[in-house]
């Protein structure tokens, strides 16, 4: 009988414990990660890092590679979280915080949906607008092209940022790699 009670208690605790600690788990993961990978000298990340990981996702999507896009999403969420705001003006901080709250979510969704590339692309569309606003406010550190694909999402269209002038479409991928036009060059 004693044994029965022990088993019961253990099972009950195990069941209740695995129920609601997903967020907790994520947090601890994050901290261990940042401890392991944080660069030794620089404290936080910059716009350059954000653009780099955003382009990582973009380039993976042009190749229909959901898994690689997910890797980019994870890295992007990470650099958004660790962004160094110390050099920003009060006004810039406000804009950044606004963009960060939204963009981080999209990056996270992209990171956990490696098997659902259509869903990754939905989030990428909104993310692109966020990152566009960010580089317009803070500067991108490199020349970027704001491209537009009119066919995506039942001809509603969507934009994305690219580091090259040639069109490589992240929404339609290999089915229509060159669909789209450069709308704006951001220096």
């Amino acid at each position: 009988m004693k044994n029965t009670f022990m088993c019961m208690a253990i099972v009950a605790i195990a069941l209740s414990a695995c129920n609601n600690n997903t967020t907790e788990e994520k947090k601890t993961n994050d901290t261990t990660n940042s401890a392991a990978t944080a660069a030794p000298v620089t404290g936080g990340s910059s716009v350059k890092d954000i653009v780099e990981h955003y382009l990582h996702i973009k380039n993976a999507l042009t190749k229909d590679d959901g898994k690689e896009a997910a890797n980019g999403g994870k890295a992007l969420a990470d650099v958004f979280a660790k962004f160094d705001q110390s050099s920003l003006t009060a006004e810039q901080k406000k804009t950044f915080t606004d963009i960060q709250a939204d963009a981080k979510e999209h990056a996270e969704h992209i990171s956990v949906n490696a098997e659902k590339i259509a869903h990754q692309r939905e989030h990428f569309a909104t993310l692109s607008k966020d990152v566009y606003d960010l580089v317009k406010t803070l500067g991108g550190g490199q020349t970027l092209y704001n491209d537009f694909c009119p066919m995506y999402n039942n001809n509603k269209g969507a934009t994305w940022l690219s580091e090259t002038k040639d069109i490589k479409n992240p929404y339609l991928g290999k089915t229509m790699p060159t669909c789209g036009t450069v709308k704006e060059t951001i220096q």
Binding site: T4, C7, M8, V11, A12, L15, S16, N19, N20, T22, T23, T95, D98, I99, A101, D102, E105, H106, A118, H119, E122, A125, T126, D130, D133
Partner: protein
């Protein structure tokens, strides 16, 4: 035989024991000032669809079915509510920044269009929450138009 009986008894005891581990209820009982219906225009038809189809997992008020009091089903239901609310909470929509409001409206249109929401496990039991083609169009149009109407104050 004795062994099987013992195991059966053990499972029964576990089942009874876990009934005492009830997750906290998601029921505030009031319409928050930040509710989406007080933030942006929502027609009565759309509001009704959101309430039957989405509020159980995406608001501070869940209409619990009786079997949600039976564990471990209640835990699964609770997991959906916690995750769903973290993604999108119609009761707190007004506290989101304009950017996030727009972003969520876009996600709503996408999720409904892709048949990803309401969750299939939910419509399987709640037949009345299943969205017809017309229902879907109604929600998508509303979400798209509302998104366009909210101006990004920049």
């Amino acid at each position: 035989m004795r062994r099987a009986k013992k195991i059966g008894l053990l499972l029964l005891v576990i089942f009874i024991a876990i009934q005492f581990l009830q997750p906290a209820r998601n029921k505030s009982g009031q319409v928050m000032p930040t509710d989406i219906s007080r933030t942006v225009p929502v027609s009565p038809a759309v509001s009704a669809l959101l309430k039957t189809g989405c509020y159980d997992c995406h608001s501070n008020n869940t209409n619990y079915p009786w079997y949600a009091t039976v564990q471990p089903i209640g835990w699964i239901v609770n997991g959906h509510i916690q995750k769903g609310k973290a993604e999108l909470n119609f009761s707190e929509f007004g506290s989101y920044t304009i950017r996030r409001q727009k972003s969520k409206l876009k996600s709503i249109a996408n999720q409904v269009n892709d048949n990803s929401m309401p969750l299939a496990s939910y419509t399987f039991i709640h037949k009345n929450a299943k969205l017809s083609k017309e229902d879907k169009a109604l929600i998508i149009d509303w979400a798209t138009q509302t998104n366009e109407a909210i101006s990004t104050k920049q």
